[in-house]
């Protein structure tokens, strides 16, 4: 099990403005490898590969034919059409692209933390296609991700599924036709147990009871809102004139969509009691919870989850980073799977997302899942949870050509992604990446020098013109100082530092 030191940042701080959202603009190594979206995707044949289809077993020395961005053929005897682009994957393994059911990449803003019902905000508006984490996660074989709002609110913002189409504008990221979602959060984050903001009163709710009441209150309002509009429409249809329409309320509209089954609920949670609470509230208001996220105590209520038909998206083995995470066990995914729950392993973290294959593999050791069952945790199962399994999640004819190619069995610790394809286009290519690095450094260096020269130019002219004057005062030369901006600590400060270091 991992020692959860870095998790304090990874888990609890998701309720804070994501530091990455500030940094994403600062780290941008190069523009996309991908072709422009207007090009027709090429016809590609991946051949000689070990194909882990997830849906129908493993095909040795197999080929995958890709046409129009879709899988057009899978098997051992696929004929290469003329003009096809061949990817020779001898000794390599192809799996369906990894789907991360809980991600906070590709967004300029993660949390509207002011109010406990922030359903008026939507992640789609703040998508940041320049976030380097998109590319890094692609390099980990991820092709689609559920971009969630933070967990600072009982009812958080509207969410969406994206494809990691690095290099395309924000409008090209959303997974076409995928059901939109909304983030809920239960427990310590929405009740703000683990932090307070100086000088500000504690926000309601401060207890799990309050979280329940907040959700119930919001859905009561949404129900009334829907009724107000239904009544208005009825009266208009009946021919009434001069009616003042109700005001539109962007906070309640997505909740009405939840009630109407047009929007998935993805709820952050930890403890068994809060899990059962939300199931009761959902039943009361007649909506369904699509997935519970984190759900570290899911193994305790696996039967209830299975009966409710709710998906569980959990961590492989993160635990004890806060009180509500103390009962986590690495057997969670396997135990829930065995009780009939559709389980996925998610990242909730841009770095973790680069090795979800290994996270899935852990459930073979802890809980004894089969190779295929483990692989499903990051492919087919998250696809089912997000309602996109008709399009992705397995290697079958007709599905999107979203694929990851590894040099070893992807559930091995030695596996490294060689290529990642989305819609039949290569968005990550390890060889090309390595080959391109020198070029990037070269351009960086050239630009740095150019910009420096542009800044310095006017100042450098002057001393040249005034050289004779300068020579009169050679001993002074105060203008040398600003040119050497390396701050030199005083000896005292340095000594003090050394003394301190020594004392420790």
């Amino acid at each position: 099990m991992r020692i959860p030191t870095r998790l304090n940042a990874g888990r609890t701080l998701l309720s804070f403005p994501h530091i990455l959202s500030f940094l994403c603009f600062l780290h941008f190594p190069f523009s996309a490898n991908a072709a422009t979206p207007t090009d027709a995707p090429p016809i590609i044949l991946i051949q000689n590969a070990t194909i882990l289809t997830v849906s129908h077993g493993t095909i040795e020395h197999g080929s995958i034919l890709i046409r129009d961005g879709k899988i057009a053929g899978v098997g051992q005897s696929i004929k290469a059409p003329a003009g096809v682009q061949v990817i020779d994957a001898a000794g390599q393994f192809v799996i369906p692209g990894i789907i991360d059911c809980h991600s906070h990449i590709a967004a300029e803003s993660i949390n509207e933390g002011s109010v406990s019902v922030s359903s008026m905000v939507t992640m789609e508006e703040v998508l940041d296609p320049d976030d380097i984490d998109i590319y890094r996660d692609l390099a980990g074989g991820v092709t689609a991700a559920n971009i969630l709002h933070g967990s600072a609110n009982s009812i958080g913002g509207q969410t969406l599924v994206i494809k990691l189409r690095w290099g395309q504008p924000a409008s090209r990221l959303p997974f076409e036709g995928a059901m939109p979602g909304i983030k809920f959060a239960l427990g310590e984050n929405p009740k703000r147990s683990n932090f307070s903001i100086p000088g500000q009163p504690k926000r309601y709710p401060a207890t799990r009871m309050g979280v329940e009441e907040t959700i119930r209150g919001a859905f009561s309002e949404a129900r009334d809102y829907k009724k107000t509009w239904d009544d208005y429409k009825k009266r208009v249809t009946a021919g009434e004139k001069n009616l003042i329409p109700p005001r539109r309320d962007l906070r309640l509209e997505p909740l009405v969509e939840v009630l109407e089954g047009k929007r998935y609920v993805h709820s952050h949670c930890y403890r068994e009691d809060e899990i059962l609470m939300l199931l009761r509230v959902a039943k009361e208001f007649g909506f369904k919870v699509r997935t519970f996220q984190h759900i570290l105590e899911g193994y305790k209520v696996a039967d209830e989850l299975a009966a409710a038909g709710v998906g569980a998206s959990t961590f492989s083995d993160w635990w004890a980073y806060k009180v509500e995470a103390y009962d986590a066990i690495p057997y969670n995914a396997a135990l829930m799977t065995r009780r009939g729950v559709v389980v996925s392993i998610n990242s909730d973290d841009s770095e973790e997302a680069t090795h979800l294959n290994q996270e899935a593999a852990k459930s073979m050791k802890f809980g004894g899942l089969s190779h295929d069952e483990a692989l499903k945790l990051v492919t087919l199962n998250p696809a089912i949870q997000l309602g996109i399994d008709k399009r992705v999640g397995t290697i079958d004819v007709g599905k999107d050509a979203d694929l990851a190619i590894y040099n070893h069995d992807p559930l091995s610790a030695y596996a490294v992604v060689q290529k990642t394809l989305i819609d039949g286009r290569v968005y990550f290519d390890r060889e090309r990446d390595i080959a391109g690095r020198a070029e990037i450094e070269k351009e960086k260096k050239a630009l740095t020098e150019k910009l420096k020269a542009a800044e310095k130019k006017p100042e450098e002219k002057k001393p040249e013109e005034k050289k004779p004057e300068e020579k009169k005062l050679p001993e002074k030369k105060p203008e040398d100082k600003p040119k050497a901006p390396t701050p030199t600590p005083t000896p005292t400060a340095a000594q003090a530092g050394a003394a301190l270091g020594g004392a420790q």
């Binding site: 403005p17 941008f28 509207e112 933390g113 002011s114 109010v115 005001r247 630009l447």
Partner: protein, 561 residues
């Protein structure tokens, strides 16, 4: 008595830019007995609306241009100005600024115990919304920048209040007049928006970009509803619940009715593409301000037929940046290519105008525009972006923006090409009033060292140690510009220089006595500023160091301990 004066002085310093009590407006510097008729004869005239005219005459009568041409008749009552060797341009327009609105006074009771602010709980509390404020109502002669801008050739500004998501309404102002009302050319012409939150995580709604966008969506919906509901109610109020009055909705509804442009902030490619979608979603007449990554998105902006106000404060490495910090390639590319955006916009057929952004000296505004000329923009297009284009964008092209018969007599007279660095502005006419441009105090000797960067200024008043921050930029000739920030506000440097090792820079702040100059002067030894602060005939010693760098003086002090 002396002590009291010193206390007064300390008070002045710690107040920073306090402009709580506006004094009587200072007299204007128009010369002579305010003649009403001028003729500039024998000059090169660049009308912008047509080709340049050599050896031509511009006649100005009672505030408007009454004749332009090679052989325009000079009326006998006109004050004739010999234009030989001079070039006459239309007055320049700063297409988006708050020049004209002096820095706000701190709210009364400042200095007492801080009360927790009432936090907005949602859109209904209308956070950061003062759309009823207006540049036309808030323009004040006490803003010293009016003169600075005018001396730099700017006769007109599109002026809007700052702060919040709906800060207020923009107005077209001419930069001269005896009363605030004289300034106003047209109002409102714009509804600027901002997505900037101020409180940080966990403060009132909204505390994120997500929330700011959702808030603005809701306000537009509410405004739309309000217009419709009000109309239905007025037709038939009996038996119907009265729609609630909301000041934000009412002000926005009125401004939209006046065809004010909704100004959407967007600088990089992601923001620009988002802005295109927002304008479409809101179904408003929109324009973009920022636009510095236009080089990536220009054709898309052109396809949506949106206009762009280009921020001339080009991105650059932060002064005093960590030398070990390595910016990303994207950042480097942005810094390199931003000045090429105007050329890209022009090529794509996007109408654009220039605005000063964060630039504090008008000379630097023109210098920044020169960068975009160097990056491929035709000089005529650059001039247009300062004159006729902003006039067209804001619906005042019938009144100003070019040198044409009947237009407002806003003119800049120079001794050379506007964008050449050595060119001097000789005279500016605003609404037909002539302003001679005084040569700013020039440093005599070449500067020894560079004052560019952030400085921590420390001084001791009878009330204890105080600090403020100077953010300075020095030109190669030693001219210093920038801002000084105390804990009550920020003031721009109106004049400053480093001559050999002697420095001096002056800010202007509002005090009981009226707008008051505060001058920092002394000696620069290459690392430390040492000297005195003088205000109202009194002075205080101060020392300035770059934060993070230990000055030799401080170092030896530390050593003694």
């Amino acid at each position: 008595m002396h002590r009291k004066q010193i206390r007064g002085c300390a008070f002045a310093l710690c107040l920073g830019v306090l402009l709580a009590w506006f004094c009587a407006p200072p007299a204007l510097h128009a010369q002579g007995g305010e003649p009403q008729y001028f003729a500039i004869r024998g000059a090169k005239v660049v009308p912008v609306s047509g080709p340049p005219l050599e050896n031509a005459t511009v006649v100005i009568s009672r505030g408007v241009i009454s004749a332009v041409g090679k052989d325009a008749a000079v009326p006998p009552e006109a004050w004739v100005i010999d234009g030989k060797g001079l070039i006459v341009y239309p007055g320049l327009v700063d297409a988006f600024t708050d020049v004209g609105i002096p820095a706000a006074a701190p709210p009364p009771g400042e200095g007492g115990a801080r009360r927790p602010q009432q936090q907005a709980q949602g859109p209904q509390d209308r956070p950061g919304s003062t759309p009823w404020r207006s540049g036309a109502d808030e323009v004040s002669l006490s803003d010293k920048r009016i003169e600075t801008w005018r001396n730099g050739g700017f006769t007109t500004v599109i002026c809007a209040p700052k702060g919040g998501f709906f800060p207020g309404q923009a107005a077209v102002l001419d930069l001269a007049g005896e009363r605030p009302g004289d300034f106003v050319v047209k109002s409102p012409v714009g509804i600027p928006l901002s997505f900037q939150t101020s409180g940080g995580f966990g403060s009132g709604f909204p505390d994120s970009l997500l929330g700011a966008l959702a808030y603005i969506h809701q306000v537009w919906l509410d405004t739309d509803w309000s217009i419709k509901a009000q109309a239905i109610y007025e037709k038939n109020p009996r038996g119907v619940a009265r729609p609630r009055y909301d000041r934000t909705e009412a002000a926005l509804a009125e401004a939209l009715e006046d065809h004010a442009l909704v100004l959407v902030p967007a600088n990089n490619a992601v923001q620009l593409r988002r802005a295109l979608e927002l304008v479409e979603r809101w179904q408003v007449k929109g324009a973009i301000y920022g636009g510095q990554m236009g080089y990536e998105v220009a054709p898309e902006i052109a396809a949506k037929k949106l206009t762009v106000l280009v921020d001339l404060k080009w991105p650059e490495a932060e002064k005093d940046a960590d030398p070990e910090y390595k910016p990303s390639l994207r950042t480097l590319r942005f810094r390199d290519r931003a000045p090429s955006s105007p050329a890209a916009l022009a090529k794509a057929g996007v109408k654009f105008a220039f605005y000063s952004g964060g630039i504090t000296a008008p000379k630097d505004i023109l210098k920044a525009a020169k960068k975009s000329i160097d990056a491929g923009l035709a000089p005529e297009a650059a001039l247009r972006a300062f004159t006729l284009s902003p006039a067209e964008i804001f619906g005042v092209a019938g009144r100003l923006g070019s040198i044409e018969n009947g237009k407002i007599a806003n003119l800049v007279v120079t001794d050379g090409d506007l964008f050449e660095e050595k060119t001097k502005i000789k005279m500016v006419l605003v609404d037909g009033r002539k302003f001679e441009v005084r040569e700013p105090e020039k440093p005599k000797d070449p500067p020894k060292g560079d004052l560019t960067g952030k400085w921590k200024l420390s001084y001791t008043t009878p009330e204890g140690a105080e600090e403020s921050t100077a953010d300075l930029t020095m030109d190669k000739d030693g001219t210093v510009s920038g801002t000084i920030t105390g804990h009550r506000g920020t003031a721009s440097v109106i004049t400053g220089y480093l001559s050999a090792d002697k420095f001096s820079f002056t800010i202007n702040i509002g005090l009981d006595e009226g707008p008051t100059n505060v001058t920092f002067s002394g000696t620069f030894d290459g690392t430390t500023l040492k000297g005195s602060i003088s205000v109202l005939g009194m002075s205080l010693d101060f020392i300035g160091v770059k934060p993070g760098r230990v000055s030799s003086g401080m170092g030896s002090l530390a050593g003694a301990q």
